[in-house]
Each structure stands twice: as structure tokens, then as C-alpha cells.
């Protein structure tokens, strides 16, 4: 469903992605790992349409259409969802209002009828229950004053409501204690299915104990330098990223 070919992207005329190739099939979960500064988050944001990054070469096909031509909102309407590494606080806008507006905009673009306040509340309650989250979340301003864990859970909750076809998670595990991590992973796992693909960006292998990927890719210096099955993550965990850097320097990986 997603094909990335030779993707190059820069910000402030500094090249960060230097030729990414990646193929994600329907229902697959791909983990992207790599050291700090390798370009993981940039890749996630470029896919969501973040305008601070300029795509200088390559293409991204999503269900056969050119993704890079679409505005961020049109990507969301087409079923792409980014769980932010740093979710933005929006004082004065309630989570309920925000999510219902988002859901209805997406529904409208798909030719579906808008969902009213009562039905939305029922839907939200159902999802909160599945995710084991507190209903109080709904009436608070979007992410305002949320703890790190609450923010990440709120991202997963949004994902559960909007039901994307391609969910990209940008370091959903960063800064979480083990209990919060398990909860977030539980949420993500409950959303896995044959019609939904996922890209899980993470710095640490730990998350992948709980969200077990089908494929693992290692990003280094703006390129994918190694791909494999879930076992690759374990290898990285025991050996660290250092050996990869040596291999890349010696030209052993392609």
C-alpha cells in the first residue's frame, strides 16, 4: 500500500533523508530503528506532510497515488495518521470538539454522514473502554497539562477514533515508564488488523517486545542500511548501533 522510492528530504538546506526505499504491504507492521539523528522522525513527518521539510527527490506512492502531492489534511482524509513524538498542546479546544471535528471532516471527504454529538460520545466511550483510558480525558483541552504518558495515550485514542489505514508512530515509547509503555502498546496492538498497516519509529528495541513487528529496518545517516525480520531488533539490542556504523563505514551494507 505504501511505496517509498529514493526519497530525499532537507530542512534549512541540510539533507536529512538521502535516498529512502521502503515497501509496506497491507496489514504489515514495520519498525524503523536507528540512532539519534539518523532521520527516523523526519521520515515520519515527511509522510504526514510537514512543510518544514522539503522533498528534493524521489517519490511516495500510497494506494497508487502520489502522496507528496497531497496536503497534510488530504493525507489524513486518505487514511494516514501520525502519532506525534511531541503532541501539541492546544489550550481552549476540548479533546471532544477537536476529535469530532476531525472525524466529521474525514467522514465528509469519504461521502459519509456527519456523526452527531451524542453518537460521538458513545463511540468515544467505547474506544476509551477498549484502550482502558479515563473518560475525563475527553473534556480536557487537547494535551494541555497532560503528562508525557497521557499525551501518548491521547495519540493512540485519536488513532482509535479516526481508524487510519496507515498509522505512523513516532517514538511513541519515548519517556514512558514500563507500565505506561505496556498500556500504549496494548492500545496499538488492539488496533492491528489485516486492513491497517503500521510504521513504528523507535530508538529502543524495548517497545518491540510489546508491539512485535513483521519487519525491522535500520536507518542510518538518512538511508535504510539494513532490513530484516523481528530478530534484527534483538540483534541491535545486544550489539548496539556501533557495529552498524563500522559496517557502513567499511561499505559492507548496501
Amino acid at each position: 500500500m505504501l511505496t517509498i522510492k529514493n526519497l530525499h528530504a532537507s530542512t534549512n538546506s541540510k539533507e536529512i533523508l538521502r535516498g529512502i526505499d521502503l515497501e509496506v504491504g497491507l496489514g504489515e507492521v514495520h519498525a524503523i530503528m536507528g540512532p539519534n539523528g539518523s532521520g527516523k522522525s523526519t521520515l515520519a513527518q515527511v509522510l504526514a506532510g510537514r512543510e518544514v521539510y522539503e522533498v528534493t527527490d524521489g517519490e511516495v506512492l500510497y494506494d497508487g497515488q502520489n502522496l507528496l502531492d497531497l496536503s497534510p489534511e488530504d493525507r489524513a482524509r486518505a487514511g494516514i495518521f501520525l502519532a506525534f513524538q511531541y503532541p501539541v498542546e492546544i489550550p481552549g479546544v476540548s479533546n471532544t470538539y477537536f476529535l469530532r471535528s476531525a472525524l466529521n471532516t474525514i467522514r465528509k471527504s469519504q461521502g459519509l454522514t456527519e456523526i452527531d454529538a451524542m453518537d460521538f460520545l458513545a463511540l468515544a466511550r467505547k474506544k476509551l473502554k477498549v484502550l482502558d483510558m479515563d473518560e475525563a480525558l475527553m473534556n480536557r483541552s487537547v494535551n494541555e497539562g497532560f503528562s508525557g504518558g497521557e499525551k501518548k495515550r491521547n495519540e493512540i485514542f485519536q488513532m482509535a477514533i479516526l481508524e487510519p489505514r496507515l498509522a505512523i508512530q513516532d517514538e511513541t515509547d519515548s519517556g514512558l515508564d514500563i507500565d505506561a509503555l505496556k498500556e500504549v502498546a496494548h492500545g496499538v496492538n488492539s488496533l492491528r488488523g489485516p486492513e491497517r498497516s503500521m510504521i513504528v519509529v523507535t530508538h529502543y528495541q524495548r517497545l518491540l517486545n510489546y508491539i512485535v513487528p513483521d519487519f525491522v529496518h535500520v536507518l542510518y545517516n538518512g538511508r535504510i542500511v539494513k532490513s530484516g525480520k523481528k530478530e534484527l531488533a534483538l540483534e541491535l539490542e545486544s550489539k548496539g548501533y556501533g557495529w552498524l556504523e563500522e559496517e557502513v563505514a567499511a561499505g559492507h551494507t548496501a
Binding site: 497534510p72 489534511e73 489524513a76 495518521f81 501539541v88 481552549g92 471535528s101 471532516t105
Partner: protein
């Protein structure tokens, strides 16, 4: 005096006509008026050389010979005012049209016993004793030409007197309407609110206008809060797009009184609002909130002064502005802490959202502290809609213009949320939605 021709003389003539008609009122009031017109003659209209008027040019007022409207031609019907979301507010109201009381669309049912809400002109002719003691005793006509002019020419307005201990559930609404007919016209609405000890009341003062005619509304309001009184006062502007409004609100607070003011501005071509609150008794508290939404070539100037004259008083001030088009805003907020006002606790902030390249805001929070044991902070911000937040909303499928609207709404709604009377909050949100809808239509699809 001033190089440009102004029509100061027009008002001196109007004053003389008043005196001839014996419209100046009883002796004490006639005396106050004479002092006021003399002071107005001395001061003249301010110019931008005057520090207090540096960014606001009153030429649209000074260079037009505004005339008062005769009572007979000052009419409006409920139907002709239905356009304004501030007309029906589900509370007792006194309506004045072009400066004259309009009994047909006023009603005062539901006021508790002992509470006075009436026309100032009627209270004056009835010889109400509190008037001589309070009317024109607070608003400073020595340093303000506009207050002097209002005092000299005022004919009518709202007079509210809440007796000791009374709790008034519903707000009392004073609505000043300008029709713009037969312009250019002037009205000089005058409001006096006397809040007795331990009373509790809400007053809304609305200024709405329509039509193509030019008019100038020069309003002065005095609010006197006795010990322990709790008062919430809102001033609304929905003046017509060619109107000028100069408003002066003077608040006098006794010991342990608590006064909250809200200022909401949606309309008008030129608006100047002076709000001066004197915390003149220990433990008094004041909250000053403001919201202005300006577009096109609208100009709004807020000058507020919080005068901490006694110890242990607290004040909180937050004014927020949204400026679009070529609109210009001025915020000048002074907090004065007098020598004896130890333990003052004051916070002041002015936040502005500029939605266009050409919108301008001049903001100047000022602190003047003469006491040594106080806690005071102040600050101002000017910015655009947060780009991170815009992207966040877009990444969830919300279109860019809707995203801007949501964020602007949230910014402004913060002030509306502070109003306690729910029907007014709803109407303010309506006005906010209307204002934002007008803006978003201008954006490319």
C-alpha cells in the same frame, strides 16, 4: 491651538442651548456642567502629540460637527434591532435610542424589591439624593476632554442603585442604540451604578449601532462599589462600521469589594475605551478582562489604569486582541501601586493575535510602584497563530482555514468563558463565530 479646523465651538453652542432650555438640571448639576464645559473649552480635543493619545487620531471626531438627535426622531423597534445578537438577553433592560429613553422596548419586570434601575433623567428630576453625592464625582473631567464633554452635554442614561445586602440574580441590561439616521449625530450616554454594602449584581452595558450614517457615541460610566459589594460589569461594542465611540469607565472600590469588568469589542470604526479602577479600600479585588476583534480599517485603543491606593488589594487583568486586515490596536495598561498599598498582588497581561501582514498593535503595559512589599507582574505578547498547532490539526484531517478558525476561536473564547451569565456567553460566542466566518470567507479556498 490646533492647526486643523475642529468643531469644538459646535459643542459650546449646544451647551448654551441646553442652559437656555433649562435642561441643565438642578443647581448642583448645572454647576458641575458649567465647570465641565469650561474645562472642555480649555482642553480642546486631544492630538497625537498628547502622550495618552499618541496612537489614536481623533480627527474623525474633532473634524465633524456632530449634532444631538431630537427625541421625536429617536425611535427603534424590536424588529429593527433583531439583527444584533446582543438585543435579546433574557434579562431586564433599559434601552436608549440616540440618547433618548425608549420605553416601548424596555422592560424592568423581575427586579428585586428595593433595587433601582431607571433613567438618569428621571432620577435627576425626582431629586434622588445619592446623585448629588456621586454623579460626576469620580470620572476625571479635569484631564479628559471627552469626560468633560459628556458631563456638560449628558441628558440621559442608566441609573442603578442596589441597596445594602441585595442579591440581584439576573443582570440589569443597559442598551444604548445608535441608528445613524440624520447624521452626523452625537449621543452622550451617562451611566451611574451604585452598589451598596454586601450587595451582589451584574450589569451589562451594550452599545450597538447600525445604518450608514456617521455617529459619535461619547459614553461615561461610573461604578461605585461599597464595602464587600460583588459586581460583574460587561461592556459590549457592536457599533456600526462608520461609528466612533469614546468610552470612559471609572470604578471606585471600597474595602473588600470585588469588581469584575469585561470589555468586548466587535464593531465600530474608531473606538477608545478608558477604564480606571481605584482600589480605595483594604482587601479590594478587581478583575479586568477584555477581548477585541478588529478587521478592515478598524481602530481600537484601550487605556486602563489600576490604581492600588490601599494595602492588601489584588488585581488581575487580561486583555486579548485579534486583529486582521489593516486594523490597528492600542493597549496601554497602567498599574499604579501607591506608597501605602503594601501587599499589593497584581498581574497584568495583554495578548494579541495578528492574522494579517498589515494589522498593527501598539502595546505598553506599565508598572508604577511606590510601595516596597508588593507582588506585581505584567507582560504583553504579539504573535501569529501557532504553526505547530495548525499542523497538528491538519494532520488529523482538519483543513487549514478551519484549523486557523479553531485556534483563533480558542484564543478569544478564553475571555468569553470568564463571563458568568450563560446567555451572554452564548451571544458572545455567536458574535465571535460571525466575526470569524467573515474572516475565513476572504481566504482562498
Amino acid at each position: 491651538m490646533t492647526a486643523v479646523k475642529d468643531y469644538q465651538g459646535t459643542y459650546l453652542a449646544q451647551f448654551q442651548a441646553h442652559e437656555k432650555d433649562h435642561a441643565a438640571g438642578p443647581g448642583w448639576l448645572a454647576e458641575v456642567r458649567r465647570a465641565a464645559i469650561h474645562r472642555f473649552a480649555e482642553l480642546g480635543f486631544p492630538t497625537t502629540k498628547d502622550e495618552e493619545w499618541k496612537y489614536t487620531n481623533v480627527a474623525p471626531i474633532a473634524q465633524v460637527p456632530f449634532q444631538p438627535v431630537a427625541a421625536a426622531s429617536a425611535t427603534a423597534t424590536a424588529e429593527s434591532l433583531a439583527w444584533s445578537c446582543f438585543f435579546e438577553l433574557d434579562c431586564p433592560r433599559l434601552v436608549f435610542v440616540n440618547g433618548h429613553y425608549s420605553p416601548g422596548i424596555s422592560f424592568l419586570a423581575g427586579l428585586p424589591k428595593g433595587v433601582t434601575a431607571t433613567r438618569l433623567a428621571k432620577a435627576v428630576s425626582a431629586g434622588t439624593p445619592a446623585l448629588e453625592q456621586h454623579l460626576a464625582r469620580y470620572a476625571d473631567l479635569q484631564n479628559s476632554a471627552f469626560t468633560a464633554l459628556n458631563t456638560a452635554l449628558m441628558q440621559d442614561g442608566g441609573f442603578i442603585e442596589i441597596p445594602r445586602g441585595a442579591v440581584v440574580e439576573k443582570p440589569i441590561y443597559l442598551l444604548y442604540v445608535s441608528t445613524g439616521d440624520g447624521g452626523p449625530t452625537i449621543s452622550s450616554p451617562r451611566t451611574l451604578i451604585l452598589a451598596g454594602r454586601e450587595c451582589q449584581a451584574t450589569v451589562i452595558e451594550g452599545h450597538i449601532g447600525f445604518g450608514e450614517g456617521t455617529y459619535f457615541s461619547n459614553a461615561v460610566t461610573e461604578i461605585v462599589a461599597d464595602e464587600n459589594a460583588v459586581i460583574e460589569y460587561s461592556k459590549l461594542h457592536q457599533e456600526s462600521r462608520t461609528a466612533s465611540h469614546v468610552g470612559t469607565v471609572r470604578v471606585e472600590q471600597a474595602r473588600s469589594s470585588n469588581v469584575t469588568t469585561h470589555s468586548f469589542s466587535f464593531g465600530g470604526a474608531l473606538i477608545r475605551e478608558d477604564l480606571n479602577a481605584v482600589l480605595n479600600g483594604e482587601g479590594a479585588e478587581a478583575q479586568l478582562n477584555g477581548l477585541y476583534l478588529m478587521t478592515a480599517r478598524q481602530h481600537i485603543d484601550h487605556h486602563t489604569t489600576l490604581d492600588h491606593a490601599q494595602p492588601h488589594c489584588a488585581s488581575r487583568e487580561l486583555y486579548k486582541g485579534v486583529l486582521d486586515g489593516q486594523a490597528a490596536g492600542v493597549f496601554n495598561g497602567r498599574v499604579i501601586v501607591r506608597k501605602d498599598a503594601q501587599k499589593t498582588d497584581s498581574k497584568q497581561s495583554n495578548k494579541n493575535l495578528l492574522l494579517s501582514e498589515e494589522a498593527v498593535i501598539n502595546t505598553k503595559p506599565q508598572l508604577e510602584i511606590f510601595a516596597d512589599d508588593v507582588k506585581c507582574t505584567h507582560g504583553a505578547t504579539i504573535g501569529q497563530v501557532d504553526q505547530e498547532a495548525i499542523f497538528y490539526l491538519r494532520s488529523r484531517g482538519i483543513g487549514i482555514s478551519e484549523a486557523r478558525k479553531i485556534l483563533t476561536f480558542a484564543f478569544a473564547n478564553d475571555i468569553i468563558d470568564r463571563v458568568k451569565f450563560a446567555p451572554l456567553r452564548d451571544r458572545l460566542r455567536d458574535a465571535l463565530f460571525q466575526s470569524l466566518a467573515k474572516r475565513s470567507r476572504k481566504e482562498p479556498a
